[in-house]
Protein backbone atom coordinates (compact mmCIF):
# COMPACT_ATOMS: atom_id res chain seq x y z
CA UNK A 1 0.00 0.00 0.00
CA UNK A 2 1.38 3.28 -1.13
CA UNK A 3 -0.44 5.89 0.95
CA UNK A 4 -0.37 9.68 0.66
CA UNK A 5 -1.67 11.81 3.51
CA UNK A 6 -2.35 15.55 3.24
CA UNK A 7 -2.07 17.69 6.37
CA UNK A 8 -2.46 21.36 7.20
CA UNK A 9 -1.05 23.63 9.88
CA UNK A 10 -3.85 25.43 11.73
CA UNK A 11 -4.35 27.44 14.94
CA UNK A 12 -4.97 25.28 18.01
CA UNK A 13 -8.72 24.87 18.60
CA UNK A 14 -8.36 26.35 22.09
CA UNK A 15 -6.97 29.57 20.58
CA UNK A 16 -8.69 32.90 20.63
CA UNK A 17 -8.72 34.36 17.12
CA UNK A 18 -7.91 38.05 16.71
CA UNK A 19 -8.79 39.76 13.46
CA UNK A 20 -7.01 42.38 11.40
CA UNK A 21 -10.02 43.88 9.67
CA UNK A 22 -8.12 46.06 7.19
CA UNK A 23 -5.73 43.29 6.20
CA UNK A 24 -8.67 40.83 6.12
CA UNK A 25 -6.62 38.29 7.98
CA UNK A 26 -6.11 36.90 11.44
CA UNK A 27 -3.32 37.92 13.79
CA UNK A 28 -0.87 35.02 13.86
CA UNK A 29 1.35 36.45 16.55
CA UNK A 30 0.81 34.63 19.84
CA UNK A 31 -1.21 31.84 18.24
CA UNK A 32 -0.25 28.24 18.89
CA UNK A 33 -0.28 26.24 15.66
CA UNK A 34 -0.95 22.51 15.41
CA UNK A 35 -1.69 19.85 12.83
CA UNK A 36 -5.39 20.09 11.93
CA UNK A 37 -7.08 17.57 14.30
CA UNK A 38 -8.91 15.63 11.57
CA UNK A 39 -5.60 15.21 9.69
CA UNK A 40 -4.24 13.30 12.68
CA UNK A 41 -6.92 10.65 12.17
CA UNK A 42 -5.83 10.43 8.52
CA UNK A 43 -2.17 9.96 9.50
CA UNK A 44 -3.08 7.34 12.10
CA UNK A 45 -5.22 5.40 9.62
CA UNK A 46 -2.38 5.42 7.08
CA UNK A 47 0.07 4.10 9.68
CA UNK A 48 -2.32 1.31 10.71
CA UNK A 49 -2.89 0.25 7.09
CA UNK A 50 0.86 0.18 6.53
CA UNK A 51 1.43 -1.85 9.69
CA UNK A 52 -1.19 -4.38 8.59
CA UNK A 53 -0.43 -4.57 4.90
CA UNK A 54 3.05 -3.15 4.36
CA UNK A 55 3.96 -0.28 2.05
CA UNK A 56 4.86 3.32 2.71
CA UNK A 57 3.23 6.42 4.19
CA UNK A 58 4.19 9.75 2.69
CA UNK A 59 2.81 12.98 4.10
CA UNK A 60 2.43 16.23 2.19
CA UNK A 61 1.53 19.72 3.35
CA UNK A 62 0.86 22.74 1.17
CA UNK A 63 1.93 25.91 2.94
CA UNK A 64 4.70 28.11 4.17
CA UNK A 65 7.99 26.97 5.72
CA UNK A 66 6.32 26.88 9.14
CA UNK A 67 4.25 23.88 8.00
CA UNK A 68 7.43 21.79 8.32
CA UNK A 69 6.70 21.55 12.06
CA UNK A 70 3.45 19.61 11.50
CA UNK A 71 5.22 17.42 8.94
CA UNK A 72 7.86 16.57 11.54
CA UNK A 73 5.12 15.56 13.93
CA UNK A 74 3.83 13.05 11.36
CA UNK A 75 7.38 11.71 10.91
CA UNK A 76 7.60 11.33 14.69
CA UNK A 77 4.31 9.40 14.62
CA UNK A 78 5.87 7.01 12.12
CA UNK A 79 5.40 8.35 8.59
CA UNK A 80 8.18 7.30 6.20
CA UNK A 81 8.66 10.57 4.36
CA UNK A 82 7.27 14.10 4.46
CA UNK A 83 7.23 16.79 1.79
CA UNK A 84 6.44 20.47 1.87
CA UNK A 85 4.82 21.98 -1.19
CA UNK A 86 5.92 25.52 -0.61
CA UNK A 87 3.13 28.01 -1.07
CA UNK A 88 3.81 31.47 0.30
CA UNK A 89 0.45 32.91 -0.71
CA UNK A 90 -1.69 34.14 2.20
CA UNK A 91 -4.74 32.09 3.21
CA UNK A 92 -7.20 32.58 0.34
CA UNK A 93 -10.01 30.45 1.82
CA UNK A 94 -10.29 29.00 -1.69
CA UNK A 95 -10.45 25.22 -1.64
CA UNK A 96 -10.17 24.92 -5.41
CA UNK A 97 -6.79 26.64 -5.44
CA UNK A 98 -5.42 24.21 -2.83
CA UNK A 99 -7.01 21.22 -4.59
CA UNK A 100 -5.35 22.26 -7.86
CA UNK A 101 -1.94 22.37 -6.17
CA UNK A 102 -2.52 18.99 -4.55
CA UNK A 103 -3.79 17.35 -7.76
CA UNK A 104 -0.78 18.65 -9.69
CA UNK A 105 1.62 17.45 -6.97
CA UNK A 106 0.04 13.99 -7.05
CA UNK A 107 0.35 13.79 -10.83
CA UNK A 108 3.91 15.06 -11.07
CA UNK A 109 5.57 13.89 -7.86
CA UNK A 110 3.52 11.14 -6.25
CA UNK A 111 2.04 9.12 -9.11
CA UNK A 112 1.06 5.56 -8.26
CA UNK A 113 -0.45 6.13 -4.81
CA UNK A 114 -3.16 3.62 -3.88
CA UNK A 115 -4.88 5.79 -1.32
CA UNK A 116 -5.06 9.54 -0.67
CA UNK A 117 -6.07 10.38 2.89
CA UNK A 118 -7.19 13.79 4.18
CA UNK A 119 -8.88 15.18 7.28
CA UNK A 120 -12.56 15.88 6.56
CA UNK A 121 -11.90 19.60 6.89
CA UNK A 122 -9.22 21.92 8.18
CA UNK A 123 -10.31 23.51 11.43
CA UNK A 124 -9.93 27.08 10.26
CA UNK A 125 -11.12 27.66 6.71
CA UNK A 126 -13.73 24.97 7.51
CA UNK A 127 -14.27 24.46 3.79
CA UNK A 128 -14.76 20.67 3.75
CA UNK A 129 -14.06 20.77 0.05
CA UNK A 130 -10.39 20.07 -0.78
CA UNK A 131 -10.58 16.23 -0.60
CA UNK A 132 -13.60 16.01 -2.94
CA UNK A 133 -12.17 18.62 -5.31
CA UNK A 134 -8.81 16.85 -5.48
CA UNK A 135 -10.64 13.57 -6.13
CA UNK A 136 -12.56 15.13 -9.01
CA UNK A 137 -9.46 16.76 -10.52
CA UNK A 138 -7.67 13.41 -10.37
CA UNK A 139 -10.68 11.39 -11.60
CA UNK A 140 -10.73 9.31 -8.41
CA UNK A 141 -13.69 8.07 -6.36
CA UNK A 142 -14.17 9.43 -2.85
CA UNK A 143 -15.59 8.73 0.55
CA UNK A 144 -15.70 11.81 2.79
CA UNK A 145 -16.35 12.11 6.55
CA UNK A 146 -15.34 8.49 7.10
CA UNK A 147 -15.55 6.74 10.49
CA UNK A 148 -14.50 3.25 9.38
CA UNK A 149 -12.26 2.13 6.54
CA UNK A 150 -11.52 -1.37 5.27
CA UNK A 151 -9.01 -1.86 2.47
CA UNK A 152 -8.66 -5.22 0.76
CA UNK A 153 -7.04 -6.00 -2.55
CA UNK A 154 -7.83 -3.21 -4.97
CA UNK A 155 -10.95 -2.02 -3.19
CA UNK A 156 -12.05 -0.17 -0.09
CA UNK A 157 -15.24 0.01 1.92
CA UNK A 158 -15.88 3.10 3.98
CA UNK A 159 -18.59 4.08 6.42
CA UNK A 160 -19.41 7.77 6.19
CA UNK A 161 -21.51 9.89 8.49
CA UNK A 162 -24.79 11.29 7.23
CA UNK A 163 -27.65 12.91 9.14
CA UNK A 164 -29.22 10.27 11.36
CA UNK A 165 -27.26 7.37 9.94
CA UNK A 166 -24.32 5.99 8.05
CA UNK A 167 -23.63 5.33 4.39
CA UNK A 168 -21.54 2.40 3.28
CA UNK A 169 -19.47 3.44 0.28
CA UNK A 170 -17.70 0.97 -1.96
CA UNK A 171 -14.61 2.29 -3.79
CA UNK A 172 -12.09 0.90 -6.21
CA UNK A 173 -8.53 2.03 -5.59
CA UNK A 174 -6.91 4.44 -6.02
CA UNK A 175 -9.36 6.54 -4.04
CA UNK A 176 -9.67 9.62 -1.83
CA UNK A 177 -10.85 9.20 1.75
CA UNK A 178 -11.36 11.98 4.30
CA UNK A 179 -11.22 11.17 8.00
CA UNK A 180 -13.77 12.01 10.68
CA UNK A 181 -13.41 11.72 14.44
CA UNK A 182 -14.21 8.15 15.47
CA UNK A 183 -12.11 6.57 12.71
CA UNK A 184 -9.34 5.74 15.19
CA UNK A 185 -7.42 7.08 18.16
CA UNK A 186 -4.26 8.86 16.94
CA UNK A 187 -1.04 7.73 18.61
CA UNK A 188 1.35 10.02 20.40
CA UNK A 189 4.83 10.56 19.07
CA UNK A 190 7.51 8.57 20.91
CA UNK A 191 10.70 10.20 22.12
CA UNK A 192 12.59 7.95 19.75
CA UNK A 193 10.28 9.00 16.92
CA UNK A 194 10.81 12.67 17.73
CA UNK A 195 14.61 12.24 17.74
CA UNK A 196 14.52 10.32 14.45
CA UNK A 197 12.16 12.88 12.88
CA UNK A 198 14.62 15.67 13.65
CA UNK A 199 17.22 14.02 11.46
CA UNK A 200 14.96 13.30 8.51
CA UNK A 201 15.00 15.75 5.63
CA UNK A 202 11.72 17.39 4.62
CA UNK A 203 12.16 18.00 0.89
CA UNK A 204 10.59 21.17 -0.48
CA UNK A 205 8.63 21.16 -3.73
CA UNK A 206 8.07 24.54 -5.35
CA UNK A 207 4.99 25.62 -7.29
CA UNK A 208 7.30 26.24 -10.30
CA UNK A 209 8.36 22.59 -10.17
CA UNK A 210 4.67 21.71 -10.42
CA UNK A 211 4.43 23.80 -13.56
CA UNK A 212 2.64 26.83 -12.14
CA UNK A 213 3.60 30.29 -13.42
CA UNK A 214 4.02 33.36 -11.20
CA UNK A 215 0.81 34.08 -9.24
CA UNK A 216 -0.67 30.71 -10.22
CA UNK A 217 -2.97 29.16 -9.35
CA UNK A 218 -4.87 32.33 -8.55
CA UNK A 219 -7.78 32.29 -6.07
CA UNK A 220 -11.26 32.12 -7.56
CA UNK A 221 -12.70 34.27 -4.85
CA UNK A 222 -12.18 37.69 -3.39
CA UNK A 223 -12.33 38.26 0.36
CA UNK A 224 -14.64 41.23 0.90
CA UNK A 225 -14.70 41.20 4.68
CA UNK A 226 -13.41 39.51 7.79
CA UNK A 227 -15.04 40.31 11.10
CA UNK A 228 -15.39 39.08 14.63
CA UNK A 229 -18.76 37.45 15.30
CA UNK A 230 -21.35 39.60 17.01
CA UNK A 231 -20.59 39.43 20.72
CA UNK A 232 -23.21 37.77 22.87
CA UNK A 233 -24.19 39.39 26.12
CA UNK A 234 -24.64 37.60 29.40
CA UNK A 235 -28.35 37.34 30.10
CA UNK A 236 -30.58 36.55 33.06
CA UNK A 237 -29.18 34.18 35.63
CA UNK A 238 -31.64 32.47 37.95
CA UNK A 239 -30.64 31.14 41.34
CA UNK A 240 -32.51 29.40 44.10
CA UNK A 241 -35.05 26.61 44.38
CA UNK A 242 -34.73 24.12 41.47
CA UNK A 243 -38.49 23.86 40.93
CA UNK A 244 -38.96 27.63 40.86
CA UNK A 245 -35.99 28.36 38.61
CA UNK A 246 -37.08 25.59 36.22
CA UNK A 247 -40.60 27.05 36.05
CA UNK A 248 -39.25 30.54 35.49
CA UNK A 249 -36.87 29.40 32.72
CA UNK A 250 -39.69 27.60 30.89
CA UNK A 251 -41.80 30.76 31.14
CA UNK A 252 -38.99 32.98 29.85
CA UNK A 253 -38.27 30.68 26.90
CA UNK A 254 -41.94 30.73 25.95
CA UNK A 255 -43.05 34.28 26.72
CA UNK A 256 -39.88 36.35 26.37
CA UNK A 257 -37.59 34.49 23.98
CA UNK A 258 -40.53 32.88 22.15
CA UNK A 259 -38.49 29.86 21.10
CA UNK A 260 -40.88 27.21 22.44
Amino acid sequence: MNILVFVKRVPDTESRIRIQREARGIVEEGLNFVISPYDEYAVEEALRLKEAQGGAVRVVSVGRDEAAAVLRKTLAMGADEAFLVKDDAPEAYDGLRTARIIARAVERKFAGADLLLFGKQSVGADNSQVPAMAAELLGLPQATVVTKLTVEGGAATALREIEGGTEKVSLSLPAVVSAQKGLNEPRYETLRGIMAAKKKPVPVITLEELGFGPGEPSPGLEVTGLDAPAARQAGKVLQGDPAETARELARLLRDEAKVI
Binding site: R16, I17, E167
Partner: protein, 325 residues
Protein backbone atom coordinates in the same frame (compact mmCIF):
# COMPACT_ATOMS: atom_id res chain seq x y z
CA UNK B 1 -31.47 32.05 -13.00
CA UNK B 2 -30.51 30.86 -9.53
CA UNK B 3 -30.93 27.12 -9.14
CA UNK B 4 -31.21 25.17 -5.90
CA UNK B 5 -30.30 21.51 -5.77
CA UNK B 6 -32.98 19.56 -3.95
CA UNK B 7 -31.82 16.58 -1.95
CA UNK B 8 -34.18 13.64 -1.68
CA UNK B 9 -34.21 11.26 1.27
CA UNK B 10 -36.83 8.54 1.70
CA UNK B 11 -38.77 9.83 -1.28
CA UNK B 12 -39.13 13.35 0.13
CA UNK B 13 -37.35 16.65 -0.42
CA UNK B 14 -35.24 17.46 2.64
CA UNK B 15 -36.26 20.39 4.82
CA UNK B 16 -32.84 21.99 4.42
CA UNK B 17 -33.26 21.86 0.62
CA UNK B 18 -36.54 23.77 0.90
CA UNK B 19 -34.66 26.42 2.92
CA UNK B 20 -31.99 26.55 0.20
CA UNK B 21 -34.65 26.96 -2.50
CA UNK B 22 -36.36 29.73 -0.52
CA UNK B 23 -33.07 31.61 -0.24
CA UNK B 24 -32.38 31.11 -3.95
CA UNK B 25 -35.80 32.62 -4.64
CA UNK B 26 -35.23 35.67 -2.42
CA UNK B 27 -31.84 36.47 -3.97
CA UNK B 28 -33.11 35.77 -7.50
CA UNK B 29 -35.94 38.24 -6.95
CA UNK B 30 -33.42 40.82 -5.79
CA UNK B 31 -31.32 40.26 -8.91
CA UNK B 32 -34.39 40.17 -11.16
CA UNK B 33 -33.77 36.63 -12.39
CA UNK B 34 -35.74 33.38 -12.18
CA UNK B 35 -35.61 30.54 -9.67
CA UNK B 36 -35.21 26.91 -10.57
CA UNK B 37 -34.97 23.65 -8.69
CA UNK B 38 -32.83 20.76 -9.83
CA UNK B 39 -33.23 17.18 -8.70
CA UNK B 40 -31.33 14.06 -9.62
CA UNK B 41 -32.06 10.35 -9.28
CA UNK B 42 -33.46 7.33 -11.08
CA UNK B 43 -36.96 8.86 -10.99
CA UNK B 44 -37.54 12.30 -9.49
CA UNK B 45 -40.01 14.17 -11.74
CA UNK B 46 -42.84 13.08 -9.42
CA UNK B 47 -41.53 15.52 -6.82
CA UNK B 48 -41.84 18.50 -9.18
CA UNK B 49 -45.15 19.58 -7.62
CA UNK B 50 -43.49 19.83 -4.22
CA UNK B 51 -40.68 21.91 -5.73
CA UNK B 52 -43.18 24.30 -7.38
CA UNK B 53 -45.05 24.62 -4.09
CA UNK B 54 -41.74 25.54 -2.45
CA UNK B 55 -41.17 28.37 -4.90
CA UNK B 56 -39.40 26.99 -7.96
CA UNK B 57 -40.53 28.55 -11.26
CA UNK B 58 -38.92 25.75 -13.26
CA UNK B 59 -37.88 22.25 -12.28
CA UNK B 60 -35.02 20.38 -13.86
CA UNK B 61 -35.33 16.62 -13.33
CA UNK B 62 -32.13 14.73 -14.11
CA UNK B 63 -33.18 11.11 -14.41
CA UNK B 64 -30.89 8.19 -15.10
CA UNK B 65 -30.73 4.61 -13.79
CA UNK B 66 -27.06 5.34 -13.00
CA UNK B 67 -28.28 7.77 -10.32
CA UNK B 68 -30.37 5.21 -8.43
CA UNK B 69 -27.66 4.85 -5.78
CA UNK B 70 -25.79 7.95 -4.69
CA UNK B 71 -22.31 8.35 -6.08
CA UNK B 72 -20.37 11.58 -5.69
CA UNK B 73 -18.77 11.02 -9.09
CA UNK B 74 -22.02 10.32 -10.94
CA UNK B 75 -24.00 13.08 -9.23
CA UNK B 76 -21.23 15.62 -9.82
CA UNK B 77 -21.17 14.69 -13.50
CA UNK B 78 -24.96 15.04 -13.68
CA UNK B 79 -24.99 18.43 -11.94
CA UNK B 80 -22.09 19.75 -13.99
CA UNK B 81 -23.98 18.65 -17.11
CA UNK B 82 -27.03 20.55 -15.89
CA UNK B 83 -24.93 23.69 -15.24
CA UNK B 84 -23.36 23.52 -18.72
CA UNK B 85 -26.76 23.17 -20.40
CA UNK B 86 -29.06 25.36 -18.30
CA UNK B 87 -26.37 27.96 -17.51
CA UNK B 88 -27.62 29.14 -14.10
CA UNK B 89 -25.98 32.28 -12.72
CA UNK B 90 -25.75 30.52 -9.37
CA UNK B 91 -26.30 27.03 -8.01
CA UNK B 92 -26.99 26.54 -4.30
CA UNK B 93 -26.73 23.30 -2.33
CA UNK B 94 -27.54 22.60 1.32
CA UNK B 95 -24.43 22.09 3.44
CA UNK B 96 -25.63 18.62 4.42
CA UNK B 97 -23.58 15.42 4.37
CA UNK B 98 -24.59 14.99 0.73
CA UNK B 99 -24.20 18.63 -0.24
CA UNK B 100 -20.73 18.82 1.27
CA UNK B 101 -19.82 15.61 -0.54
CA UNK B 102 -21.03 16.52 -4.02
CA UNK B 103 -20.88 20.33 -4.35
CA UNK B 104 -17.04 20.46 -4.25
CA UNK B 105 -16.88 17.85 -7.00
CA UNK B 106 -19.33 19.83 -9.12
CA UNK B 107 -17.22 22.94 -8.53
CA UNK B 108 -13.97 21.20 -9.46
CA UNK B 109 -15.60 19.71 -12.55
CA UNK B 110 -16.75 23.17 -13.64
CA UNK B 111 -13.44 24.74 -12.61
CA UNK B 112 -15.13 27.20 -10.25
CA UNK B 113 -14.65 28.09 -6.59
CA UNK B 114 -17.23 27.25 -3.95
CA UNK B 115 -18.43 29.28 -0.97
CA UNK B 116 -18.98 26.61 1.67
CA UNK B 117 -21.42 26.45 4.58
CA UNK B 118 -22.74 29.98 4.14
CA UNK B 119 -24.96 31.59 6.76
CA UNK B 120 -25.84 34.69 4.72
CA UNK B 121 -26.19 35.54 1.06
CA UNK B 122 -26.50 39.19 0.03
CA UNK B 123 -26.59 41.15 -3.20
CA UNK B 124 -23.90 43.85 -3.27
CA UNK B 125 -23.31 46.02 -6.35
CA UNK B 126 -25.33 43.60 -8.44
CA UNK B 127 -23.30 40.56 -7.38
CA UNK B 128 -23.79 37.87 -4.77
CA UNK B 129 -21.76 38.14 -1.58
CA UNK B 130 -21.46 35.04 0.59
CA UNK B 131 -20.85 35.18 4.34
CA UNK B 132 -19.58 32.15 6.22
CA UNK B 133 -18.22 31.45 9.69
CA UNK B 134 -14.60 30.27 9.77
CA UNK B 135 -12.64 28.87 12.71
CA UNK B 136 -16.02 27.35 13.67
CA UNK B 137 -17.51 30.79 14.16
CA UNK B 138 -14.61 32.56 15.84
CA UNK B 139 -14.43 34.75 12.72
CA UNK B 140 -16.89 35.66 9.97
CA UNK B 141 -15.66 35.76 6.38
CA UNK B 142 -17.38 37.40 3.43
CA UNK B 143 -16.39 36.56 -0.13
CA UNK B 144 -17.37 37.26 -3.70
CA UNK B 145 -16.78 34.53 -6.24
CA UNK B 146 -14.85 35.49 -9.37
CA UNK B 147 -16.01 32.40 -11.21
CA UNK B 148 -19.32 31.48 -12.84
CA UNK B 149 -21.68 29.86 -12.08
CA UNK B 150 -21.56 30.99 -8.46
CA UNK B 151 -21.53 27.85 -6.34
CA UNK B 152 -22.39 27.79 -2.66
CA UNK B 153 -23.54 25.43 0.05
CA UNK B 154 -25.93 26.94 2.61
CA UNK B 155 -25.97 25.89 6.24
CA UNK B 156 -29.16 24.06 7.29
CA UNK B 157 -31.48 25.69 9.84
CA UNK B 158 -30.23 29.22 9.16
CA UNK B 159 -32.29 30.39 6.18
CA UNK B 160 -36.07 30.63 6.63
CA UNK B 161 -38.20 28.33 4.48
CA UNK B 162 -40.64 30.14 2.18
CA UNK B 163 -44.42 30.32 2.29
CA UNK B 164 -46.14 27.73 0.07
CA UNK B 165 -46.70 28.95 -3.49
CA UNK B 166 -49.76 28.20 -5.68
CA UNK B 167 -49.49 26.91 -9.22
CA UNK B 168 -46.93 25.01 -11.22
CA UNK B 169 -44.41 25.53 -13.95
CA UNK B 170 -42.31 23.85 -16.57
CA UNK B 171 -40.60 20.51 -15.87
CA UNK B 172 -37.46 19.99 -17.93
CA UNK B 173 -36.33 16.39 -18.03
CA UNK B 174 -32.64 15.88 -18.55
CA UNK B 175 -30.50 12.80 -18.99
CA UNK B 176 -27.40 12.52 -16.84
CA UNK B 177 -24.05 12.87 -18.57
CA UNK B 178 -22.55 10.02 -16.57
CA UNK B 179 -19.73 8.43 -18.54
CA UNK B 180 -19.84 4.63 -18.57
CA UNK B 181 -17.11 3.04 -16.45
CA UNK B 182 -16.02 6.36 -14.96
CA UNK B 183 -17.86 5.80 -11.69
CA UNK B 184 -15.55 3.98 -9.31
CA UNK B 185 -17.31 4.57 -6.03
CA UNK B 186 -20.90 4.50 -4.84
CA UNK B 187 -23.12 4.08 -1.82
CA UNK B 188 -24.02 0.42 -1.48
CA UNK B 189 -26.06 0.61 1.70
CA UNK B 190 -27.60 3.18 4.02
CA UNK B 191 -27.59 2.16 7.66
CA UNK B 192 -30.09 4.02 9.81
CA UNK B 193 -29.42 4.80 13.41
CA UNK B 194 -31.71 2.83 15.65
CA UNK B 195 -33.02 5.89 17.42
CA UNK B 196 -35.30 8.36 15.76
CA UNK B 197 -33.18 11.21 17.09
CA UNK B 198 -32.45 14.05 14.74
CA UNK B 199 -28.92 15.11 13.93
CA UNK B 200 -27.78 18.14 15.95
CA UNK B 201 -27.31 20.12 12.72
CA UNK B 202 -30.97 19.60 11.77
CA UNK B 203 -32.72 20.09 15.08
CA UNK B 204 -34.62 23.21 16.16
CA UNK B 205 -33.66 22.52 19.78
CA UNK B 206 -30.30 21.10 20.86
CA UNK B 207 -29.87 19.92 24.44
CA UNK B 208 -26.21 19.29 25.17
CA UNK B 209 -24.41 17.72 28.08
CA UNK B 210 -20.87 18.06 29.33
CA UNK B 211 -18.51 17.00 32.04
CA UNK B 212 -21.04 18.01 34.71
CA UNK B 213 -23.17 15.01 33.77
CA UNK B 214 -20.51 12.85 35.49
CA UNK B 215 -21.23 9.81 33.32
CA UNK B 216 -23.17 8.37 30.39
CA UNK B 217 -26.29 7.65 32.45
CA UNK B 218 -27.28 11.29 32.85
CA UNK B 219 -27.68 11.67 29.09
CA UNK B 220 -31.01 9.85 29.64
CA UNK B 221 -32.20 13.04 31.41
CA UNK B 222 -31.32 15.06 28.30
CA UNK B 223 -33.02 12.54 25.99
CA UNK B 224 -36.16 12.80 28.13
CA UNK B 225 -36.10 16.54 27.69
CA UNK B 226 -35.44 16.29 23.95
CA UNK B 227 -38.48 14.02 23.64
CA UNK B 228 -40.67 16.92 24.79
CA UNK B 229 -39.92 18.89 21.59
CA UNK B 230 -40.99 17.98 18.06
CA UNK B 231 -37.53 18.56 16.51
CA UNK B 232 -34.87 18.25 19.20
CA UNK B 233 -31.51 16.49 19.37
CA UNK B 234 -29.00 15.66 22.07
CA UNK B 235 -25.56 17.23 21.80
CA UNK B 236 -22.39 16.95 23.84
CA UNK B 237 -19.17 18.72 24.66
CA UNK B 238 -15.81 17.32 23.61
CA UNK B 239 -15.00 16.13 27.12
CA UNK B 240 -18.22 14.10 27.31
CA UNK B 241 -17.44 12.53 23.92
CA UNK B 242 -13.78 11.89 24.72
CA UNK B 243 -14.84 10.24 28.00
CA UNK B 244 -16.86 7.80 25.90
CA UNK B 245 -20.22 8.83 27.41
CA UNK B 246 -21.84 9.47 24.02
CA UNK B 247 -20.95 9.03 20.33
CA UNK B 248 -18.83 11.61 18.52
CA UNK B 249 -21.67 12.36 16.07
CA UNK B 250 -23.26 14.31 18.95
CA UNK B 251 -20.22 16.53 19.55
CA UNK B 252 -20.78 20.27 19.23
CA UNK B 253 -17.71 22.48 18.94
CA UNK B 254 -14.73 23.30 16.80
CA UNK B 255 -13.75 19.64 16.38
CA UNK B 256 -17.38 18.59 16.29
CA UNK B 257 -20.42 20.08 14.64
CA UNK B 258 -21.36 23.71 14.36
CA UNK B 259 -25.01 24.18 15.17
CA UNK B 260 -27.51 27.02 14.81
CA UNK B 261 -30.75 25.90 16.47
CA UNK B 262 -33.55 28.12 17.76
CA UNK B 263 -32.72 27.03 21.29
CA UNK B 264 -29.45 25.63 22.61
CA UNK B 265 -29.55 24.32 26.16
CA UNK B 266 -26.12 23.63 27.67
CA UNK B 267 -26.31 21.33 30.68
CA UNK B 268 -23.23 20.83 32.85
CA UNK B 269 -21.06 22.45 30.20
CA UNK B 270 -18.52 24.97 31.45
CA UNK B 271 -18.15 26.69 28.07
CA UNK B 272 -14.61 26.14 26.80
CA UNK B 273 -13.79 28.25 23.73
CA UNK B 274 -13.74 25.07 21.62
CA UNK B 275 -17.37 24.44 22.54
CA UNK B 276 -18.56 28.06 22.35
CA UNK B 277 -17.22 28.25 18.78
CA UNK B 278 -19.64 25.53 17.71
CA UNK B 279 -22.83 26.85 19.27
CA UNK B 280 -22.62 30.60 19.67
CA UNK B 281 -24.68 31.27 16.54
CA UNK B 282 -27.71 29.63 18.18
CA UNK B 283 -30.69 31.98 18.36
CA UNK B 284 -31.23 31.57 22.11
CA UNK B 285 -28.79 29.97 24.54
CA UNK B 286 -29.79 28.68 27.97
CA UNK B 287 -27.47 27.02 30.47
CA UNK B 288 -27.73 24.96 33.62
CA UNK B 289 -24.54 24.79 35.66
CA UNK B 290 -23.73 24.64 39.33
CA UNK B 291 -20.76 26.99 38.96
CA UNK B 292 -21.96 30.62 38.73
CA UNK B 293 -18.54 31.58 37.32
CA UNK B 294 -18.73 29.15 34.39
CA UNK B 295 -17.90 30.93 31.09
CA UNK B 296 -21.11 29.55 29.55
CA UNK B 297 -23.07 32.16 31.56
CA UNK B 298 -21.19 34.95 29.72
CA UNK B 299 -22.86 33.97 26.44
CA UNK B 300 -26.14 32.47 27.67
CA UNK B 301 -29.36 34.47 27.35
CA UNK B 302 -30.77 32.56 30.32
CA UNK B 303 -29.08 30.55 33.00
CA UNK B 304 -29.91 28.52 36.04
CA UNK B 305 -27.25 28.14 38.71
CA UNK B 306 -28.01 24.82 40.30
CA UNK B 307 -27.54 21.07 40.45
CA UNK B 308 -28.46 19.73 37.04
CA UNK B 309 -29.66 16.43 38.53
CA UNK B 310 -32.33 18.38 40.41
CA UNK B 311 -33.04 21.07 37.82
CA UNK B 312 -33.23 19.08 34.57
CA UNK B 313 -36.12 16.70 35.49
CA UNK B 314 -38.11 19.67 36.83
CA UNK B 315 -37.32 21.73 33.73
CA UNK B 316 -38.47 18.86 31.50
CA UNK B 317 -41.85 18.87 33.31
CA UNK B 318 -42.17 22.64 33.06
CA UNK B 319 -41.28 22.63 29.34
CA UNK B 320 -43.87 19.93 28.75
CA UNK B 321 -46.48 22.09 30.46
CA UNK B 322 -45.40 25.25 28.64
CA UNK B 323 -45.62 23.51 25.26
CA UNK B 324 -49.09 22.17 26.00
CA UNK B 325 -50.54 25.51 26.94
Amino acid sequence: MIAAYLEIRDGKIKKSSLETLAEARRRAAELGVGTAAVMAGASVAGLAAAAFAAGAAKVYAIEDPALADYSAQAYAAALAGFAAEAKPAALFFSATAMGKDMAPRVAARLGVSLAADCTKVAVKDGALEFTRPIYAGKAILSVKLKTSPQLATLRPNVFPAGEPVEGGGEVVKMAAAVPEGAVKGRVVEVLKEETTELDVTEADVVISGGRGLKGPEAFALLRDMAAVFPRAAVGASRSAVDSGWIGHQHQVGQTGKTVSPQLYLAVGISGAIQHLAGMSSSKVIAAVNKDPEAPIFKVADYGIVGDLFEVVPKLTEELKKALKE
